[in-house]
């Protein structure tokens, strides 16, 4: 789904070996996992189900602790629930809901499309050492987190949009780093260079997610 070649090209440009795959077994060998995507939420989640990727992703990211990056729709799919054209269950890895970007009353156009500035928080891994703060956004829905502490970068567009969400080894961006030129490449580098150990622990977002009944 979405523009896979662009994402692969972005990682190749910073020296990574990339395997573009929709097969669960390829996750075994991956050191890091990226879920890109744009398009409709329902199609995205249905594809993950149809390809049998939900449990393998959960295993590798939640239990094995492999660093994970969700981009755009790939970020939204991590939420518990989305209200895009109906009501859909997401992966539930972050305690959040995907809601329409309701800013038309303020005279703003939707989708939020183009370059906008991201204000980083000090603790963000992805937003370190950036040459500039402008990133490319294209979305009509946004992720509303219950716990604001996981939002590591925000973008003002009528409302404060969660532009970067980081929960342990789960990283995500609402914008497209692969389309954001030098700043985007630096963000991908930050993701790739980040080294940390994530053993299972009781505060794991997945366990927290189960408490509020996400699948």
């Amino acid at each position: 789904m979405g523009n896979l070649r662009s994402v692969a090209k972005g990682f190749e440009a910073i020296g990574c070996e990339v395997c573009v795959s929709s097969r669960p077994q390829d996750l075994e060998q991956a050191e890091r996992i990226v879920l890109p995507g744009d398009g409709a939420f329902a199609t995205g989640i249905e594809n993950l189900h149809r390809l049998g990727l939900i449990e393998p992703l959960r295993h590798h990211v939640i239990h094995e602790g492999k660093p994970f990056l969700g981009i755009c729709l790939g970020m939204q799919l991590l939420a518990r629930k989305s209200w895009e054209q109906g009501e859909w269950m997401g992966l539930g890895w972050i305690d959040a809901e995907v809601k329409p970007l309701d800013v038309r009353v303020q005279g703003l156009r939707v989708p939020h499309m183009g370059w906008n500035e991201v204000a980083p928080t000090a603790s963000s891994v992805l937003l370190r050492d950036l040459p500039s703060r402008g990133f490319y956004f294209v979305h009509g829905y946004h992720v509303v987190c219950s716990n604001e502490a996981v939002v590591k970068g925000t973008c003002a567009y009528g409302v404060s949009i969660a532009a970067v969400v980081e929960v342990r080894n789960i990283f995500s961006t609402q914008f497209h780093p692969e389309k954001s030129q030098r700043a985007g490449m630096q963000l991908l580098r930050n993701f790739v260079n980040h080294q940390a150990e994530y053993a299972e622990d009781p505060n794991h977002p997945h366990l927290a997610a189960e408490k509020f009944g996400a699948r």
């Binding site: 979405g2 090209k9 744009d38 398009g39 409709a40 989708p111 370059w115 030129q181």
Partner: protein, 252 residues
């Protein structure tokens, strides 16, 4: 604050880039991949490539040319020309396009817009409208690379396209195309005021001040240009500096 985008447009004709004047009189300007490399190095906000005669030649998009050019693009890329099916969209997205630009097929088969938006999301569906002036505040939509008159008013068509799921309108004035005499501000304003989705003004940019005019007077969300970047010393960056001086928020 969302930045106003400055978008170089590449016109592809028989595998080479051309410049056009009023949708006629083509003149070759270079090769697609090289142009993409230059624009990427200049960190342009976005790029549009239109295979202008695909529809006239009754063929789909030139995938090899687009794939080759897309390798150089680390910025958003919109691809148009010959997009007639969901499969075409899938193919160009797969090789590096972020958006598709649909013109004739959208007009002839408006439900294609909805179908595309449902499959890929509105954000990747750009409906391109080519319009010619009939008189004061009166315009008419043309399809088939400006060859076929439709009798439809661009405002009505833009609103319909928005309702059907278009995420953006690329609005080109046929009269102004390639003339470098400025955007047709009345046309831009009429359409931009009539829809809630972003409108990209296209056709006519020739002076630095034209861009700010399209935003302040035309209320465009983004400005596209071709000739000015190919035949003058003006670069996307100098345009941005002029726009910034005119009080417009751009990415510098």
């Amino acid at each position: 604050m969302l930045k106003t985008r400055i978008i170089p447009t590449l016109l592809l004709r028989n595998s080479v880039l051309v410049k056009s004047i009023r949708f006629q009189t083509y003149r070759p300007t270079g090769m697609p991949r090289q142009a993409a490399r230059v624009y990427n190095a200049r960190e342009v906000d976005e790029m549009v490539i239109l295979d202008i005669e695909a529809r006239l030649q009754a063929r789909g998009p030139m995938l090899e040319v687009i794939a080759d050019l897309a390798e150089e693009c680390f910025m958003p890329l919109a691809v148009g020309g010959g997009i007639r099916t969901i499969e075409h969209i899938r193919e160009v997205m797969k090789i590096g396009a972020d958006k598709v630009v649909i013109n004739t097929e959208a007009f002839e088969r408006p439900l294609f817009i909805s179908e595309a938006a449902r499959m890929f999301g509105s954000q990747c569906v750009v409906v391109s409208i080519d319009a010619k002036r009939l008189g004061p505040a009166r315009y008419e939509v043309y399809t088939h690379c400006g060859r076929r008159v439709t009798g439809t008013d661009p405002v009505t068509w833009a609103q319909r396209a928005e309702t059907l799921g278009a995420g953006e309108i690329l609005l080109t004035s046929i009269d102004s195309d390639g003339t470098m005499q400025g955007y047709d501000l009345e046309l831009v304003r009429l359409v931009a005021d009539a829809v809630k989705i972003p409108v990209i003004a296209s056709g006519g940019a020739g002076r630095l001040s034209d861009f700010a005019d399209a935003v302040w007077q035309g209320r465009a969300s983004a400005v596209a240009a071709a000739s000015i970047f190919q035949f003058t010393q003006v670069t996307p960056n100098s345009v941005k500096m002029a726009m910034r001086d005119a009080g417009i928020d751009v990415r510098l």
